[in-house]
Symmetry: C2
Subunit: 240 residues, 2 copies
């Protein structure tokens, strides 16, 4: 974000913080107004209902993701794919990012019941699968990847990374100050005894690169590094 955010950006930033703090079901227009230091009546001037504002927020988040994808469109295909995989890694200290994604997951459960939310979810799905498909197609053309079933591979990779994220954010304790089934350990950021170590997302991201991505590489192509992929994406901001 620039030094002088627009009013719309300030409001979206307020939605982001309010969702993190209160979750989707409980967040109110007043919470959002408080988080962006606007009046509730100003919010209602721009957005009739909470649903209108949350749909606009989903649109904003996905548009931001589209821009992040475009910013990496000219990276070499194998590195771009490692960047995509690295985008889904949540380290043990990513409590704010986890809280935001819990709120997004709550929003996602509204998909079957709310056409406007579902339209945004379908758009996000197309962006994610389309990005992986685009990376694979450029890589096949460049001789970096073997000829593979592009759309199947894209669905597999997106499902895998999404699943790891959902499991990590729902299983990790700490939001209520407790940890399930363990003594807890403040130093590991609320990790739960018995959960994968390192974090679910990092373990699965590494497995995705080694088990799914490496077999796609043409002979002689060096496997891309997850560390480089994470570094490439975290140069951008954290809201996805």
């Amino acid at each position: 974000m620039s030094d002088q955010p627009s009013a719309a950006e300030e409001i979206m930033d307020g939605v982001y913080r309010a969702l993190r703090a209160h979750g989707y079901a409980d967040v109110t227009m007043q919470d959002i107004a408080d988080e962006c230091s606007k009046s509730k009546s100003l919010l209602h001037y721009h957005y009739d209902t909470k649903e209108d504002l949350l749909v606009a927020f989903l649109d904003y988040v996905i548009t931001d993701s589209e821009a992040r994808v475009r910013a990496h469109a000219d990276d070499p295909p194998a590195e771009r794919l490692a960047g995509f995989v690295g985008w889904f890694v949540f380290e043990a200290d990513a409590a704010d990012r986890e809280a935001f994604h819990i709120a997004l997951l709550e929003l996602r459960t509204q998909g079957p019941f709310n056409e406007r939310i579902r339209e945004q979810l379908v758009r996000s799905d197309r962006l994610l699968r389309g990005t992986v498909a685009d990376i694979l197609e450029s890589g096949i053309e460049a001789g970096v990847f073997r000829e593979v079933d592009v759309s199947e591979t894209a669905a597999l990779i997106v499902a895998t990374l999404d699943g790891a994220r959902t499991r990590q954010i729902t299983l990790t304790g700490g939001a209520d100050g407790t940890d399930a089934g363990s003594e807890g350990d403040a130093e590991t950021g609320g990790s739960t005894d018995g959960l994968p170590e390192p974090t679910y997302t990092r373990l699965v991201a590494e497995a995705t690169l080694r088990r799914i991505v490496e077999p796609l590489l043409a002979e002689g192509v060096d496997p891309p590094s997850l560390a480089d992929g994470i570094a490439a994406m975290t140069r951008d901001d954290e809201t996805e």
Copy 2:
């Protein structure tokens, strides 16, 4: 379930139907009482709060899953793994099962905020990853699988299948009688134009068998069939 279900089973069946119909956030003790033809005061006699009843329901569902896993413990390892993968396949006409899993997903978003729910989610995670790990270990011992990193593979497979399910159930329209971004198609059970065909879960299950499971097989071992895996699991009931 037997012909003469116990009162507890009748109540759990009522929770299942009420969650499907109303979702987690909106379901009330009265809804559950209505679904199992009990009085609300009887429910409150056994369960102080809605939370108590839902935690008991999660416990019931996971205990049922444990029994289903045990029932297949002596199947050959490769077939058992195909059965596990097949367990996560939702066909396009599985609206009831999808509605139930949307309610479960809502419940899962409470994990970070509710220790008792999180304890059950952690237990379910251990069951799922433990089952895959157990299958892999028996298969390695029997010479059916190569020596692989068992716990990494288990996390990868569970994340992949869970992610496909979450994407399918949140992206598929129909619960509000509409379909996002498409004209809709009643014959395909509310599938949305632009989503993977066949369903997300079937596409990813097939990719999981071919891309993740087949490379684990020892030389000369025939790849297991997804169709057989699905058939083995659907002989049991549909509530998981």
